[in-house]
Symmetry: C2
Subunit: 244 residues, 2 copies
């Protein structure tokens, strides 16, 4: 029986055989921020990409990433990607998925463990941008190097799913926010306009956010209420969050 023979060799955990394999390991990071569109006060979901200066895919845009060193954790490597690309630290960082199709990089086998990160708009506006880094609107990406379009699509799907079931929008906002600000985050992520009255009803009935009792300061006659996320509602998926 073929698989019986097979088992005795292959079922052993690899940790016993520290062979140098022909498979390279990388960590890449999808960095999302809300950035203002310039005029009108609208905001859109944007991410920084890095222009490749080597083959394969020389001159094309790719997610920031790189190899990890023997003494660096996976989340630490993702944080380093973010810092080196934007000068920022994330308000949210989570492992997305390990991408390892055999044909994703021409001429070599690379497995990329991908993280996704969120940064707040006020941070994003302070981001440093190097010569080979540019921010793109998430819904207007060019054809990217490797399978990076597919990776961004999956990161967007995860962000949208998390937005519906958890407090992830929080990472784009401060501790307190108005319902209009929260709606703007949802609109930018979902890439469609939401009816303000429906959104308010939905948020209030879900108990996802609670009024703080305070209002936005400012010169207005009746400034909008401030809300915060309801900490007593359970998060759906934190994962075994690795500390960076």
């Amino acid at each position: 029986m073929a698989h019986s023979e097979h088992r005795s060799d292959d079922a052993l955990p690899v940790e016993s055989t520290p062979t140098t394999s022909a498979v390279a390991l990388a960590v890449s990071t999808v960095i999302f921020a809300l950035r203002s569109d310039g005029e009108g006060g609208g905001a859109s979901l944007r991410l920084p990409l890095v222009r490749r200066i080597r083959e394969p895919f020389e001159g094309e845009w790719a997610l920031p990433g790189g190899p990890i060193s023997a003494h660096e954790g996976l989340a630490a490597a993702a944080g380093r990607n973010l810092l080196s690309t934007t000068g920022l630290t994330p308000t949210y960082l989570e492992q997305l998925y390990a991408f390892g199709d055999t044909d994703r990089s021409p001429g070599e086998r690379v497995v990329s463990i991908v993280y996704w990160a969120l940064v707040r708009p006020d941070q994003a506006d302070r981001a440093t941008v190097g010569d080979n880094v540019r921010w793109f609107a998430a819904d207007e990406l060019p054809r990217l190097a490797f399978d990076h379009n597919e990776i961004v699509d999956y990161a967007l799907w995860r962000l949208r799913t998390k937005m519906e079931y958890s407090r992830i929008a929080h990472a784009f906002l401060g501790e307190t926010f108005t319902l209009a600000e929260l709606r703007q985050v949802h609109e930018a992520v979902l890439q469609r306009e939401l009816d303000p009255a429906n959104f308010r009803r939905q948020m209030e009935s879900s108990h996802a956010v609670v009024p703080t009792g305070e209002r936005l300061t400012g010169g207005r006659h009746r400034p909008p209420r401030l809300y915060r996320y309801n900490d007593s509602a359970p998060l759906i998926d934190n994962g075994p969050l690795t500390s960076a």
Copy 2:
């Protein structure tokens, strides 16, 4: 500015630098099955482990796993783990997480991409078991090699979360099943007894399952109804399912 210098070297995707790193890559698989407890017809959640025949952790139990070859996909490697350990193919296979703490394997750096798999009870009963393989109850594990207890804990958490929000219990059952069979799966996974009447109400009100109109065949006066999962209800998280 330190991070500006940093960026120009490190922000480049690693795929441009196929250096042989000191970081080894492995794929391991957590294999869950419901297996009967022998007497009384109860079932418990069990998983096969492999006894290590080498240092580190020689003689201790570990998840089945191993290195991947340059031409093997990640999910294919996980399927191979399963086949070589149990002789089975999975009814459900999903990437769980990449574990990469720097101190998880003594004397070397190993990043393990972990999958989890479900097999049906009738399959599990046909599993081949080699000399170094043994099935353990999920709630009675010994101290495992490496960080494998932590990995199993996280896989259990993911299984329980999926059970509540999706049709994952299906992978333990056939196309149709009685509510008693479905409750038994939930009880084994959640490791607590559920009130039959409450469970019935909860399943019926959630519309997660629908009656097929048929009943279990057998000699009983009033055989129980058969149900199936409601395909029109959305799954919460499929991930970018890689084909094995």
